[in-house]
Amino acid sequence: MVTFAVILGWTALAVLFAIALSPSATASAPQAMPFLGGGSAETHAWQRFHFRPYTMSLLFIAFEMEMMFMYPWAVVFVSEGIKALAEMGMFLAILSVGILYGWREGIFRWQ
């Protein structure tokens, strides 16, 4: 019962907050355009561009995930024994594929 009330209460709060923060739909057509110092755009703003640091973020996520699971794993490692070691080995093998891919893409080359 209490759980239910908490969920309902938080949902109501979130809805009220969203309503209070929602932008009023009074923006005119010129205001909906991007500001280009009085100029106008030829093409739509939706476009695909090269996210250049993506290999760096790949490397970051690989090591971050590794650390995230290694902390709880270290707690249970002694009681679980060889099984936990094998599981972590598999996990690290999968992650290292990502690191190898990043290596091929040239993350470790310093420019």
């Binding site: 355009m33 009085g38 093409t43 739509h44 939706w46 476009q47 561009f49």
Partner: protein, 302 residues
């Protein structure tokens, strides 16, 4: 609330968007070095449009668009070369009126999208994939080879100016961007003519500092102080905007010493193509207005 509105808000510097006309660049830039004035970098940030000088008729549509992009309530203040103190007083007066009456100027352009929504599907959802359809009259960006590594990436083209605060007043560039890399530039209209006082070393240095986000330092430069050499030089990378063996660092160093930085003729589009957007804006700020006007007019004469 009323107390806060009357005291704190009234004491804050007035955020003003400036549309600068021919011959008014130096005066307007010196106006914004004052403590009680702040130059807004977008119309969203401002409630007052300061129109300095006479805007030529070919830029009047752009001026109307900038005017409409200022959120209401808004007001326009015309500046025809009166004393700066009087214009600041008028801006403050207008701001107070806006706060009290809350009825500003109406839109100048029609409140309608430039074109109707047009699509192929039953709900007007466009054509094939991401490249189909023309939402509100603007086609989706099409791909072209990236100038750095040849990947097929979308090209976004837009006309920027004549009132973009990071460009010299009047300059309209037709820019094609891939991400933030400029892959094509052409000059739509050259900057408005400015007398030689816009080339003053302190104004040129203040322009660079403002672009680097060092507003207080720029105000101090216009107040007659020199910034430390080390951190100004460190903020600008070497080899940027190299013309005849002098790069942006050399020009900024000359301005810091209070000397002019004379420049030979150069090809403006060639200088900007291949640069990232931030680099291109720094390069433009590192060129004195007279040299920019000459460079922008050269292809027209040819």
């Amino acid at each position: 609330m009323a107390v806060i509105g009357d005291t704190l808000a009234a004491r804050a510097p007035a955020a003003v968007f400036a549309a600068i006309g021919p011959g008014r660049q130096a005066g307007t830039e010196r106006l914004f070095a004052r403590r009680d004035m702040r130059r807004a970098s977008t119309p969203r940030d401002a409630s007052i449009l300061l129109v300095a000088g006479d805007i030529p008729s070919e830029a009047s549509e752009a001026l109307a668009r900038v005017h409409d992009q200022i959120p209401p309530p808004r007001a326009t203040v015309q500046w025809q070369g009166e004393d700066p103190d009087r214009i600041v007083a008028r801006v403050m007066e207008t701001l107070k009126d806006l706060r009290v009456s809350a009825t500003g100027e109406e839109n100048r352009l029609p409140d309608a999208p430039p074109n109707e929504w047009k699509g192929i599907g039953p709900h007007g959802q466009g054509g094939k994939g991401m490249m189909g359809g023309t939402p509100y009259g603007r086609p989706m960006a099409m791909t072209g080879p990236d100038i750095r590594d040849g990947l097929q990436l979308d090209r976004y083209s837009a006309r920027i100016g004549p009132f973009a605060p990071m460009l010299p007043p009047g300059l309209t560039l037709e820019v094609t961007l891939q991400g933030d890399v400029i892959c094509d530039v052409s000059i739509d209209s050259p900057p408005f003519a400015q007398p030689a006082d816009a080339d003053a070393p302190d104004l040129c240095l203040a322009r660079v500092l403002r672009l680097l986000g060092l507003d207080r330092a720029a105000d101090r430069v216009l107040g007659g102080k020199r910034p430390g050499a080390l951190w100004v030089q460190g903020a600008i990378s070497r080899g940027l905007g190299r013309i005849d063996g002098t790069d942006m660092r050399d020009r900024v160093a000359a301005w810091r010493k209070g000397e002019a930085a004379p420049l030979g003729p150069f090809d403006l589009p060639r200088l900007l193509i291949g640069a990232e957007w931030s680099e291109a804006m720094l390069i433009l700020a590192s060129l004195p207005p007279s040299a920019l006007i000459r460079a922008a007019r050269a292809p027209e004469a040819a």
